[in-house]
Symmetry: C2
Subunit: 254 residues, 2 copies
């Protein structure tokens, strides 16, 4: 964490999203202070969610775990938690979707008390098996409409949503509802060789990142454009080189 914070700051990066595994065994408040000392704004805490399960006890355990995530986010000083909502392959997607709405509603009081917000991240349909039953921005917007809470919004990630013919319209709707909480960028490589860990740097693929960023900003979003590149390839490189490539790609292609 110390190394990352130092290098982010040196590269001119002004914000960071903290993944939960990076906090393991550490004091969230101390990590938050460390990041602040490096001039880094904590954009969000990643991740809560995974509400659906065929077993009620496991659904209850997920609620308890999400409350812990909320406490950690608050201690860290993260204003936002990204939700990967979950899906259970042993039940219909419709049932998982109901359980997601119920799950978010159940942790809402805890969220509000902790003064953090929740961002539903619609995931690409290729993750509908066991990662998220929320696969389009329309679905995420529908959940926001259903819950009607200022604490619940959406994280728009171009990797998950770029293919959607309704994307521009749903981004507008998301903004109008005051629900556009986060924006993630990377690129879709051709070919993509792994379903999880083969994301591209901006400019390496076919996602019209600038177009989508334009829609997001036209919808009123003024937050960070967060670069999120899951990639076995890039993670195996020298990480200073990777950081350099990221900042260059960010400036040239987003």
């Amino acid at each position: 964490m110390e190394v990352a914070a130092g290098k982010y700051a040196k590269a001119g990066v002004r914000g960071i999203t903290v993944w939960r595994d990076a906090l393991e065994g550490r004091d969230p408040a101390a990590v938050g202070a460390l990041l602040k000392d490096h001039g880094l704004e904590v954009v969000s805490y990643c991740r809560g969610g995974f509400f659906p399960h065929t077993d009620a006890a496991r659904r209850q355990a997920a609620l308890d775990d999400n409350r812990r995530v909320i406490d950690e986010a608050a201690a860290l000083g993260a204003p936002l938690i990204v939700l990967v909502c979950g899906a259970h392959p042993g039940q219909p997607l419709e049932e998982s979707r109901r359980q997601i709405v119920d799950g978010i509603a159940a942790v809402l009081p805890h969220t509000e008390a902790a003064d953090v917000k929740l961002a539903i991240e619609p995931l690409h349909p290729m993750y509908a098996d066991d990662r998220s039953a929320i696969n389009t921005l329309r679905q995420a917007n529908d959940v926001c409409d259903q819950l009607q809470s200022p604490s619940v919004g959406v994280a728009v990630d171009v990797y998950h949503l770029w293919w959607d013919p309704d994307l521009q319209r749903e981004i507008r709707r998301c903004g109008e509802g005051g629900n556009l909480f986060a924006f993630h960028i990377c690129d879709w490589k051709i070919p993509t060789t792994d379903l999880l860990l083969d994301r591209g740097l901006m400019g390496e693929g076919c996602i019209p990142i600038r177009t989508i960023r334009g829609w997001v900003e036209a919808a009123g979003f003024i937050g960070f454009c967060e670069v999120e590149i899951f990639s076995s390839h890039y993670w195996s490189l020298d990480q200073d080189t990777f950081m350099q490539k990221i900042t260059q790609a960010y400036l040239e292609h987003s």
Copy 2:
């Protein structure tokens, strides 16, 4: 082809879709006769499409090639051509979508003269980069509405469409429009390790095949349930064993 025809017939399979590469260097009419002799109905010819391109000459070449596909289908005795519509990563999806509609419209007279039909197969969003800009059944239905031709319909493949929250409604719409021309089944494995060649046998994954088949039949479809399993794993097995697994999975899970 002789081996496949013999084994399909012996396994009690009554229909077959012929892929274009299997016809290479062969006389389509003779292959059609061979299949008929084995009691096999030719369900469709696979595949036409790939209309979009940034270069007009390449779009023209695609039209010419699709006319050849139509001629081959007619000679083979296939009543239907499956269209993988294409997408060009060098242009916006919207442009590729326009070129798909234009491309189908351009080959329609040739299609009608040859007395074959065209089935638009919406492809999973993970193929929106360079395989198809038509990624939902709603989009395919919209194209059918736009073209208003009895020769243009849709191939519904559970692998591509199972995740779609609008699927039941759009299947109904597809049937009401008289556009439900083909139905393909297989399963989505968890985890899926390859974007193209890791499909599962029915029952091996999380797709509610029987539910979707019910929707398709309720929409008036009375054609073949075609098993389509692209899989490096299964293709590497003894193919008699694979055939046995397919027929068993078909009976138990579809």
